[in-house]
């Protein structure tokens, strides 16, 4: 029984890592541009397709495909920021919600049209390598997800904490006007933020595409869960988001394993409702850092 519990927890943490990657990008965009990007899941989906095409058509190895997909989606992220989101920055939230929802539907259907519903898998070659310790099973593929997520999150934290651009991002999230007065080129920062968000989503999509599948509708459920994660973790707080993502992963895994699997996807939302009732200020609480 204890092994089962440990195994479920391990599965949950790995799942949580993927949620953390998608939610962080969403959280950054929300914190800095103050837009709710419902099309974030489509960046994740397109990222997975880019990696799939890199492996299938160019014959790129998994890690190179991951890099290619991240670069392409960073550029794509910057493009949609410039073309779609920039005109509505500073407008009421409902604008960005409707706009991004439309964008999400458009992108998902374009993907359905061009890439077809035919489910495919990114071949990482790592799923066949399996480790076993203390009665726990884990594939190399899932270990890679764990390690890569930690590396990417660490990189992001370092970037935001220590680089000039990162500092500018934090300044804008605190006070856009003051940051502008201090001479920060906020347009450039907007593009950079969306590029980072796109790259993180692509990384998550690629890893999910390897573990599970790549399909045009994969983005939809992920974006909802990511919103749960950032609400749970407190907007704009990196630590809070990671913490919340792991909790969501664990809730799904343990709830699915020990309570009822059919309602697996309901547990994160149930947690959210509980949070609103018990701690309306968020898990970590207070104003964002």
């Amino acid at each position: 029984m204890f092994t089962v519990f440990l195994q479920q927890s391990l599965n949950g943490v790995i799942l949580g890592c993927i949620y953390a990657l998608t939610a962080l990008g969403l959280s950054l965009v929300f914190g800095i541009l103050e837009v709710a990007n419902f099309a974030h899941g489509e960046l994740y989906m397109l990222g997975a397709f880019m990696a799939l095409f890199s492996t299938k058509l160019l014959g790129a190895p998994f890690f190179l495909a991951l890099l290619i997909s991240m670069v392409i989606m960073a550029i794509f992220g910057a493009i949609i920021e410039r073309g779609v989101f920039r005109p509505i920055v500073g407008k009421p939230m409902i604008n960005s919600m409707l706009l991004s929802f439309g964008l999400s539907t458009a992108l998902a259907n374009l993907a359905l049209f061009f890439f077809k519903a035919d489910p495919r898998k990114i071949d990482s070659g790592l799923a066949e390598i399996r480790f076993r310790f203390f009665g726990l099973h884990v594939t190399a593929e899932r270990l890679v997800v764990l390690v890569l997520s930690v590396i990417l999150v660490a990189l992001l934290a370092w970037f935001i904490q220590y680089t000039k651009t990162g500092k500018a991002m934090r300044a804008i999230s605190q006070d856009r006007v003051a940051a502008q007065l201090a001479g920060i080129n906020i347009r450039r920062i907007y593009s950079v933020t969306f590029a980072i968000s796109g790259a993180l989503a692509a990384a998550a999509g690629t890893m999910v595409g390897a573990i599970f599948f790549v399909s045009p509708e994969m983005g939809f459920s992920v974006v909802l869960k990511s919103f749960v994660v950032i609400i749970l973790g407190g907007f704009g707080s990196i630590r809070g988001v990671i913490f919340a993502a792991i909790i969501i992963g664990l809730a799904e895994s343990l709830g699915g394993g020990f309570i009822n699997y059919s309602y697996k996807d309901a547990y994160p939302f149930l947690l959210l409702v509980l949070l609103f009732m018990l701690r309306p200020q968020g898990l970590i609480g207070g104003k964002r850092s």
């Binding site: 359905l112 519903a117 489910p119 599948f213 394993g257 699997y261």
Partner: protein
């Protein structure tokens, strides 16, 4: 002017004299047949296979001159696997397009939802895929099942698995739909009747990706056989994760309704498919001349081997055409009448409908080995 009127008069007289001799109940023009299948959503791939079979059958019939010179015309609607959409689709086909018969749907939940519409409008509805036993248990004479049902499969398969293969502790993982739940019920009954034991049952939502929670739980049981009910894509994930957890050393994988017995599944799980056993009414390796011809024609057209969905689509479309020919009419009521008395022979073998409009056909026990579907036992008669 007067001369022209005279010509028209003669022409009309000639036409009238001709009418009795060319009189047929089938009015000239295309015969409309409606199809409701999921072409988007999670069932899009499997739905497309059934559609492949239907289209091939109709093209063959049309190429051979159609039915008494009239071409068949397919009107295809997407149900997306959603019952409400399926109902809207069949309403549109019957109400607006005035089709003579409807083929569909894929999921049992959708077919169950459409049955009432078919009965109310009195148009025959024939499903090539849906397995839930209750479809043919409701006394709805307008609905036909053009394939085996889970009870028939359960009977043939459990006998072989429990007695010959000696699997006595069963675990079930099934999709949370009428088909999944209906199949599990039917199998549980047969397994316990034969002296086996059911130690684990879990249901998943269609399109689920992460099965680790239940696979982990399954690992802690004493099951020696895992019985799965679901479609290609979902089951490929189950099998992949089953192997990742190292369960393949402990239990035999069973897929009695053979949702996995198609090339796409093999592509998705590769050699992990080895050793999966199941029952199927059709696999491409059946060696009868009719099956061989069907397989080679299908491969020529689509580049892959047909599986049971394509076969069912093909057979059902041909059965409908046969009923129209027999009824010598495009009237839905006459087609229904003819369909219920049909005696059909297709690539799968002989088939006819029983008094509940359930198709009676043979079953084969199949195992996957190196990407090929081998017949282990059969044909086993369902009667």
């Amino acid at each position: 002017m007067k001369g022209k009127n005279w010509i028209i008069l003669v022409a009309m007289a000639l036409l009238l004299t001709f009418v009795p001799s060319v009189y047929a109940a089938i009015p000239t023009g295309a015969i409309k047949i409606g199809v409701v299948m999921p072409t988007s959503g999670t069932l899009a791939y499997d739905g497309g296979l059934a559609l492949n079979g239907i289209k091939m059958a109709v093209d063959e019939i049309n190429k051979a001159g159609g039915i008494k010179g009239n071409k068949l015309e397919l009107l295809i609607e997407d149900s997306a696997g959603v019952p409400a959409t399926a109902v809207a689709a069949i309403e549109k086909l019957i109400g607006m397009s005035k089709v003579s018969a409807v083929i569909g749907d894929f999921g049992s939940s959708c077919t169950l939802a459409m049955m009432d519409v078919a009965q109310r409008a009195q148009v025959p509805l024939i499903t090539p895929i849906s397995l839930a036993p209750k479809i043919t248990e409701q006394g709805n004479i307008w609905t036909f099942r053009g394939c085996d049902n889970s009870e028939m499969i359960a009977k043939a398969f459990t006998k072989w698995a429990v007695k010959t293969k000696k699997l006595d502790k069963w675990a079930f993982i099934a999709v949370n739909t009428d088909y999944g739940r209906g199949s599990v019920e039917a199998f549980k009954k047969k397994v316990t009747e034969l002296g086996g034991e059911v130690v684990f049952t879990e249901y998943f939502q269609q399109g689920e990706t992460d099965y680790y929670p239940i696979i982990t739980k399954l690992k802690a049981t004493k099951a020696n056989g895992l019985c799965m009910f679901g479609e290609t894509v979902d089951l490929s994930r189950v099998v992949n994760q089953f192997y990742e957890m190292g369960l393949n050393e402990k239990m035999t994988l069973m897929d009695p309704t053979s949702g996995t017995f198609n090339p796409k599944f093999i592509e998705l799980v590769k050699d992990k498919a080895n050793g999966i056993v199941g029952a199927s009414r059709f696999v491409a390796s059946i060696k009868t001349p009719a099956a061989k011809k069907f397989v080679s024609d299908y491969r020529k057209r689509y580049g892959v081997d047909p599986e049971k969905y394509a076969q069912a689509g093909y057979d059902v479309a041909r059965m409908v055409a046969m009923a129209i020919t027999k009824a010598d009419s495009t009237e839905p009521a006459k087609i229904r009448e003819a369909l219920s008395k049909i005696s059909y022979k297709g690539p799968q073998g002989k088939a006819h409908f029983d008094e509940k409009n359930q198709l009676i056909i043979d079953e084969y026990i199949i195992a996957i080995k190196d990407g090929a579907f081998q017949i282990v036992a059969g044909p086993i008669s369902a009667e």
